[in-house]
């Protein structure tokens, strides 16, 4: 399948003038986005998501590595004519009305006047701003500005839409509407690349995901593949376990869950051996259940603040 985005060994080092400090925001990131998919770019704050996105749209030049979108150079005129981009917390000319703002962008895209009017009206209705189109942007709330941002990203009917935290600032209704909108874009054959730290949105929408942490790709693949890495068994045992159990291979965590019950989180492949050992130790096994790691656990484990049982999974 054709790659809409191809990123290979992308690096960005920022130098702070005078202080001679260097910050490596993106450390050799590699991934690809295929035509027609919704691709999630996940990571905690400071992971390098926005820097990577800015390199994809030509706002920042990479220090090393290569990024290509729609088969061309980021920022090239013919490429950007086919791309829609929503920056994180978008800022616009606040002295303009949304219709005027979109008209400026429409002129840059070279859309004829009648076509501009038609698209602007239809997009403002689509993002729920049909009633606010004659108010200046200065008077817009954060959520309304986000909707304007989404409208401007779709103005040129782009093949590839890059969205940086598209749900930011939206209320639950707004989020649902944007989720539905992104899903409908996929139905229309568009490719959507969006960054987020809202895991529910990623799980709901994305075909494939990259999890970025401290500028590096920690995990990449379909959600199924990622979550399968963390298939585990939860074993409840009546009675306390000696300290040595937690260190056994295949056991991720041992903790008391109330009363005399102890819970073990065990890798699926190691569960038979652990169960055998428990029975040999004459411990009463109360329950054995499948436990699938959630995207949240995977994400939090990468962030280094992992909850019980969420050791880092090899990517």
């Amino acid at each position: 399948m054709e790659d809409m985005i191809a990123v290979e060994g992308l690096r960005k080092v920022f130098h702070t003038p005078f202080r001679r400090r260097r910050v490596e925001a993106v450390k050799g990131v590699t991934f690809n986005v295929r035509r027609g998919e919704i691709f999630g770019f996940l990571g905690p704050n400071g992971a390098g998501k926005t820097t990577t996105l800015k390199m994809l749209v030509g706002l920042i030049r990479p220090t090393a590595g290569r990024a290509r979108i729609l088969g061309g150079e980021p920022g090239a005129i013919d490429i950007m004519a086919r791309v829609g981009f929503l920056p994180e917390q978008p800022y616009f000319y606040d002295y303009l009305k949304p219709t005027e703002l979109l008209d400026v962008f429409g002129q840059i895209f070279g859309l004829p006047r009648a076509e501009r009017r038609r698209r602007i009206d239809s997009l403002l209705d689509l993002v729920g701003l049909g009633d606010a189109k004659n108010r200046v942007l200065r008077k817009f709330s954060k959520g309304m500005l986000q909707r304007v941002g989404i409208a401007q990203a779709l103005l040129n009917d782009p093949e590839l839409i890059l969205l940086d935290e598209p749900m930011s600032g939206l209320d639950p209704v707004g989020r649902k509407e944007v989720i539905d909108l992104i899903a409908s874009l996929k139905d229309r054959g568009k490719t959507v690349f969006f960054s987020s730290h809202i895991l529910a949105d990623i799980e709901r929408l994305c075909d494939r995901v990259v999890i970025l942490h401290k500028g590096e790709v920690k995990h990449a693949g379909t959600l199924q593949e990622l979550l399968a890495q963390g298939d585990r068994k939860e074993i409840l045992v009546n009675g306390a376990l000696e300290d040595g159990w937690a260190a056994r291979p295949g056991i991720h965590a041992v903790d008391r869950v109330g009363g005399t019950v102890t819970r073990l989180l065990v890798e699926a492949g190691a569960s038979d051996g652990v169960l055998r050992d428990l029975l040999e130790a004459r411990l009463e096994v109360l329950q054995v259940a499948d436990r699938r790691i959630s995207l949240e656990e995977l994400f939090v484990a990468d962030a280094g603040t992992g909850p019980v049982g969420a050791k880092e999974v090899a990517g």
Binding site: R61, M80, A81, P87, Y91, F92, Y95, Q107, I108
Partner: protein
């Protein structure tokens, strides 16, 4: 269609927006009021002049006020042209559209040039009105003098745009004003270089600095013809055209330098 400055459609879109921004900016309205006030004050000053000097004061001070206010508008708005977009992050949505960075700079430049033309027209109407009210006959080449005043401000805008492509507004303002002050007095250096004595004759280093300044700085005295206007020395349209070409050359140079710097910038 693509020209030296880019695709006219894209440049025009940015220019139009820059003009709208200025026209909806309260600071610009304030500047307009200040301009009217200064022009009106030339009338008050003329009352203090000796009777036969009244016309001279009205013409001289009026043209000077317009020239200074045009430069003030060029500097104050020119130095924030780029900075404001970076600071407010509005560039993120503009520069990710199918437009070259050099086209954005050209659009912003032309938008401000249009603002200067409107400001000049308004101030000129007020000035000419004040001359008429005092019964002072209009100087013969008043239109040429006003166009030259505008050309000077246009050139200063390109200087401000150049500095604002890499420096903060305050530094850009200081540098631009420096170029303006040096440019308006550059003819003095020229005179000193051809003099038979003085520092620029005896000191080789000073002479080299002066010669370099003459090459790298625009000579703004070509736009200041208030004296000729008062003395009734004709200012032909051919002179205005030549000055326009001089202005265009410098504008292209500063715009080109700004575009090269701007093209290399990261917008993190």
């Amino acid at each position: 269609m693509t020209t030296l400055l880019g695709t006219p459609r894209r440049v025009a879109a940015i220019a139009r927006n820059t003009f709208i921004e200025a026209s909806r900016n309260r600071a610009f309205v304030g500047l307009g009021i200040a301009a009217m006030g200064l022009v009106a004050s030339s009338m008050a000053l003329s009352g203090l002049a000796i009777a036969d000097q009244m016309a001279r004061v009205l013409v001289d001070f009026g043209l000077f006020s317009i020239a200074v206010l045009e430069v003030v508008i060029a500097v104050t708005m020119g130095v924030i042209l780029v900075f404001k977009e970076v600071d407010k992050k509005t560039f993120y949505v503009i520069l990710t559209k199918p437009i070259r960075r050099s086209e954005v700079l050209a659009g912003k430049f032309f938008g401000l040039v249009a603002v200067l033309a409107i400001a000049l027209a308004l101030m000129s109407v007020a000035w000419i009105g004040s001359l008429a009210m005092r019964g002072v006959p209009l100087p013969h080449d008043i239109a040429q003098a006003l166009v030259l005043t505008w050309l000077q401000a246009v050139l200063i805008t390109s200087v401000a745009l150049f500095f604002s492509s890499f420096a903060s507004p305050i530094l850009s303002g200081v540098f631009t004003l420096g170029v303006y002050l040096a440019g308006t007095t550059l003819y003095v250096l020229d005179d000193l270089l051809i003099a038979r004595k003085g520092l620029l004759v005896t000191n080789d280093a000073a002479r080299a600095v002066a010669k370099t300044a003459l090459v790298i700085l625009p000579d703004l005295s070509v736009f200041n013809l208030g004296k000729e206007l008062i003395l009734g020395i004709p200012i032909g349209w051919d002179y205005v055209a030549a000055s326009g070409a001089y202005c265009l050359g410098w504008c292209l140079l500063f715009w080109g330098l700004a575009a090269v710097i701007f093209e290399r910038r990261d917008f993190a």
